[in-house]
Symmetry: C2
Subunit: 170 residues, 2 copies
Amino acid sequence: MPAEDAIFRGAMRLLASGVTIVATNCRGEYSGLTATAVCSLALSPARILASVNRAGRTYERIVESRIMSVNLLAEDHAPLADRFAGRTGAVGEDRFAHAAWEERVTGAPLLGNALAALDCRITEIVQLDTHALLIGVVEDILFGPARAPLLHFDGGFATALAPCSGGRDA
Amino acid sequence: MPAEDAIFRGAMRLLASGVTIVATNCRGEYSGLTATAVCSLALSPARILASVNRAGRTYERIVESRIMSVNLLAEDHAPLADRFAGRTGAVGEDRFAHAAWEERVTGAPLLGNALAALDCRITEIVQLDTHALLIGVVEDILFGPARAPLLHFDGGFATALAPCSGGRDA
């Protein structure tokens, strides 16, 4: 029997993840949300996956526009992450105020001072009940200033501490 | 034109992620690898996704056994993560020495002192050139002692620093 949702949620709080903003540009209008379920998928061509809730407006607009940006946030972006998670009450294009966004290849909005902002064209959408997997080929990448990442762990934001030993490829 | 692999790799180094061990039990033999491309997928039933390289032995055995565990590592697990990443030269079942593993519902090996160890039955495998997305329903969860997570960021291991403000659901 599958694990109960509440217990599963408790376990998933312990899966540390980088915080990102997934955004799109649909007929000239920006839309975006905070997402933590993002991972690198494959090379040649470079591809990335983001799992987003199908109930939201951003999902609908990505399905229509077939483009998305995935913006990797730095520790100083906690207020922006709250804004795109809907915690400040800002909706739609209003979420994009107070930060500098630019368009490159696809037209999706890229956060100028993200750790990295990936400009993607959607190649595949896998629908799974409440969520959908958005798979995109990365057409361009914008790098912002290097700094510590914004993380989500145990129900709140955190940042990364100086590396432990190990973990480096030879 | 898609981003060059080297530049994409550079960006993906900046996507902080929790470090996990994905393992299976195929006809009584354990096999496992270190994975950082793991995310929560959906509730009701609880589902998780792991992206793993199709070239490895663990992938083949998960395809055959249709079970996997996803073990969320703590900061003191850096040597274990190196071991399952092949950095110590340990292969096959030898990787499982020096740590306590247990079987619950599916028979996949669960790391006793992981932050959380998820016991999963594979429901879907999406093949993508070099990698495959393994989607599993979570049948059971084992919780180890609460502590800081092991992260991968910027080419090395790290851990999480005490939470910044914000990021909490109301």
